[in-house]
């Protein structure tokens, strides 16, 4: 496909920002309605207490925690992938990075809401902040939940900056094209960007450093989320493999989410010229790699537990292999490994549709994985007298569904404010490509003359 000219490129990518269609309002209304349902359900849960949910002894961590871990995992789509691709200077990254970075910021915001939802009385959330007080809540830096507080906030702040900095030149583009109140708003947010060589150089240096900083933070965030579990002496939680296992799982679900989002944007915003089959192919390869890595970690975790044959752990182990949770476990294996593997490896099957199908499966599979880490271990903890089970009630399910709608709503609203593909980065890539092509042609012409 011939790449579009620089001006057409800006027109195409800025069109969703500058023109509003009826579809946009319909999408916002529908998604907003689902989000409102979720908020109302949260209110219902607050008013009536946790009795309206399926939470019951001994399973006090369930769907809300699953969603917390799931969304934090999805957040690895953006900043981590974008930072890696920036550092290795992968030229194909240009249309992908912003789509990915936006997922990170919104997924982190949604993920961080779930511990508040779990509190029951969220207005008392400040009780959790560790400071000395007459309530006897002493600062305890040994608690993994306090580590979470630091890690998630650092990652959120870093990701917001990582998203916002390269947006400045694009905000300046909109400033120069918009008029009226829109021009005034973008004039403020573009910070007086002019595009001098000095500004470009400083921006690129800053992005390089930010990429170096954000990479280890992204790895640390999911490692620390895994510590919420692995620091506890609970069967199948207290494991040294949990850190890398969680990080691999997070990247796995993150890549899958990115592929799905890109496919939706491609269709809805008519970005076929920019989000090319090559992008899906490359991300599909990454998804395949992560699928293999995920399979490797699952095998390691399961084999070690089975070989150790500790009675407490084996209770949980068998409940997931051939007991109550076995259907969920094997569905997870099917969705995360069995289905994606042929779809992403067999050349005849490889296509955008197949990659998207595999990714949808992986998102569902990774959500099940989070559930299977949390619930069976608590339901089969210790001696049989303390066993129990968990079935979600409608409030958890509605809140979960509304979190997906919230993600879609935030993404839709964001697409109205900023182009979802970085215009200046794409133009810069196109410029370098044209210059390189001209150089090749010059060499060929010189060769012919000789």
């Amino acid at each position: 496909m011939t790449p579009p000219a620089a001006n057409t490129l800006a027109e195409d990518l800025l069109a969703p920002v500058l023109q509003t269609t009826r579809k946009f309002y319909v999408a916002v209304a529908l998604l907003g309605a689902v989000v409102l349902c979720g908020l109302a359900t949260w209110g219902y849960q607050m008013y009536n207490g946790f009795g309206v949910t399926g939470y019951n002894w001994p399973v006090y961590w369930a769907l809300h925690e699953t969603n917390f871990v799931f969304w934090i995992g999805i957040s690895h789509a953006g900043t981590l992938i974008s930072a890696i691709l920036r550092l290795v200077n992968a030229t194909w990254r240009r249309p992908v990075t912003r789509c990915a970075e936006v997922i990170t910021v919104f997924a982190l915001m949604i993920g961080a809401t779930f511990p508040l939802i779990h509190l029951g009385r969220p207005w008392l959330a400040f009780f959790l902040i560790p400071y000395p007080s007459e309530r006897g809540i002493w600062p305890n830096y040994r608690s993994p939940l306090v580590w979470d507080f630091f890690a998630i906030n650092t990652y959120l702040l870093g990701s917001v900056l990582f998203l916002l900095l390269p947006m400045i030149p694009d905000l300046a583009l909109i400033r120069d094209r918009a008029s009226g109140w829109r021009h005034r708003i973008y004039r403020v947010f573009s910070l007086g960007w002019q595009g001098t060589p000095r500004q470009w150089h400083r921006l690129e240096s800053a992005m390089h450093i930010m990429a170096l900083v954000i990479l280890p933070v992204a790895v640390s965030v999911h490692t620390i989320v895994s510590f919420d579990f692995s620091m506890a002496i609970v069967p199948m939680w207290h494991s040294t493999i949990f850190g890398p296992y969680f990080v691999a799982g997070a990247i796995f679900s993150g890549v899958a989410a990115l592929i799905v989002v890109m496919a939706i944007l491609r269709k809805v915003l008519k970005l076929e010229q920019y989000l090319l089959p090559l992008h899906f192919q490359n991300l599909g390869k990454l998804l395949l790699l992560m699928s293999l890595l995920w399979g490797y970690f699952v095998f390691n975790e399961r084999l070690t537990t089975w070989y150790g044959n500790s009675p407490h752990e084996m209770n949980v182990f068998w409940s997931t292999q051939n007991g109550e949770y076995a259907p969920l476990f094997w569905t997870m294996v099917l969705l995360n490994f069995v289905i994606p593997f042929p779809l992403l490896t067999v050349k005849k099957l490889r296509s955008i549709t197949a990659t998207v199908i595999a990714s949808c499966g992986v998102i569902a599979g990774m959500w099940l994985e989070r559930l299977l880490i949390i619930v069976p271990s608590l339901a089969r903890k210790g001696s049989p007298y303390s066993w129990g089970s968990y079935t979600p009630e409608w409030p958890e399910v509605v809140i979960m569904v509304s979190s997906f709608a919230a993600m879609a709503l935030l993404y839709t609203l964001f697409s109205k404010l900023v182009p979802l593909i970085s215009v200046w980065e794409l133009k810069s890539g196109e410029h370098s490509r044209r210059k390189a092509a001209a150089r090749v042609q010059d060499v060929e012409t010189a060769g012919e003359l000789i």
Binding site: W147, L157, G192, H201, E204, S205, M210, P216
Partner: protein, 169 residues
Amino acid sequence: MKAIYGLYGEPAAAELAYKELRRAGVSENEITVMSSEPLEEYEFGRGNRTTVMPWIAAGGAALGLSVAYLLTSLTQQSWPINTGGMPTVTNWTNIIIMFELAMLGAATATVITLFVSARLPRRLPEFYDPLISQGKTFVGVRNPPQASTSHIEQALRSAGPEKLRIVAS
């Protein structure tokens, strides 16, 4: 303020104008170039490349690390808690907080340095032309000496600008 500038459709033409201006005796610092994309492979895009940003980021990280160390260790000494037989100051667990705040320090220092060194936020200069956003490259001189105005105009014109404008004070 007075300014004279040309807008060029191709960066190569802008580079030519830049070279002509230099030949006409205009110093590098007096020439303003603006574009809607980074053009580092051109002569005008190569200046101003020295930056202490990585060192300032490292300084920010060191500061974050020190603050985290003091925050955790002093707090643990001031309000000692006995948890699971661990010592009062638990450096193993504090490393996590120290790491996060070090990274936060590096990120914050980087952004502050970017804003200061790229002179952001600022008001747009009067001679800024919105056509830059349409892909044109701006080459101009702000407050040129009266005597050399015609030389500058000639230099800018020689590279074939799509638009040439003299902004009066």
